[in-house]
Symmetry: C2
Subunit: 153 residues, 2 copies
């Protein structure tokens, strides 16, 4: 009504709102992780390893939504500082299974408390049904975005 462009209206765009929500979540997580000297990707990596021990660099990268090159930089730092360990040789193929050290596990525990608080705050004010709706809807968006029409389906 305020325009006749056929473009994307930021005020009503779900894409824009998704970006806004993601940005707000990231900012909130950075705020609670900063005092622990930990970045969001750093935390994501440790959390992935806690839940799925033995993930390779490439698998961690996909799980944290960064490139394997970026994850490699992080893993080298984490290994140097004693938070994770990797075997010197790959047991099979080239993939090096990574594991948390006791130090890494302790470090993660602090962070998890902080991050869980953020997640609970985000969920505050939402009913159980709304949380289910949110889950289903976000998964629908992801599915639709993944199947690229140019890949000939």
């Amino acid at each position: 009504m305020s325009q006749d462009r056929t473009g994307v209206d930021l005020e009503t765009s779900l894409g824009y709102l998704l970006k806004e929500a993601s940005s707000a979540l990231r900012t909130a997580m950075e705020a609670v992780l900063r005092p622990l000297g930990m970045s969001v990707t750093h935390y994501s990596c440790l959390e992935l390893l806690a839940q799925r021990p033995g993930l390779s660099n490439s698998e961690l990268a996909r799980g944290a939504f960064v490139t394997r090159q970026s994850m490699n930089v992080l893993l080298q730092a984490l290994e140097r500082d004693g938070y994770v360990s990797r075997p010197g040789e790959a047991p099979v193929g080239k993939a090096l299974p990574t594991r948390l050290t006791p130090l890494g596990r302790r470090s993660l525990e602090e962070a998890t408390v902080a991050v869980r608080a953020v997640e609970l705050r985000m969920l505050g004010g939402m009913t159980e049904d709304e949380q289910s709706d949110a889950f289903r809807i976000l998964q629908s968006m992801i599915r639709s975005l993944r199947n690229d029409p140019r890949n000939g389906d």
Copy 2:
């Protein structure tokens, strides 16, 4: 059941799913904008200016979810290449109102077509009601994340 950690379960975490959806959207947008030689932030800046002409650098930064320093670097490049124009002196205060040039407008039109296709693909398979739910739920998340309990209130 697969664990007794009291942590965040990635499989059922709305935060993780939000990040995944946002990552998928960003990847899809990068894919269609790359052939046009445009980044997501670049596009966001032009789209903001089309809908709200005269925004300042700081306002554009907030709208594109980056720092004003990052947006300043982008604006200088866009101004140098003739996509936007800024007055040499601030009409009031220090804020420089930015506007699209005809070249910038033409450049944006191409991008808008591509981005709208991505947004429509993301919405594919969602009913009108689900889109309304998504809108309301995302806004609820943003609101909850913004009001920081440590800010008193």
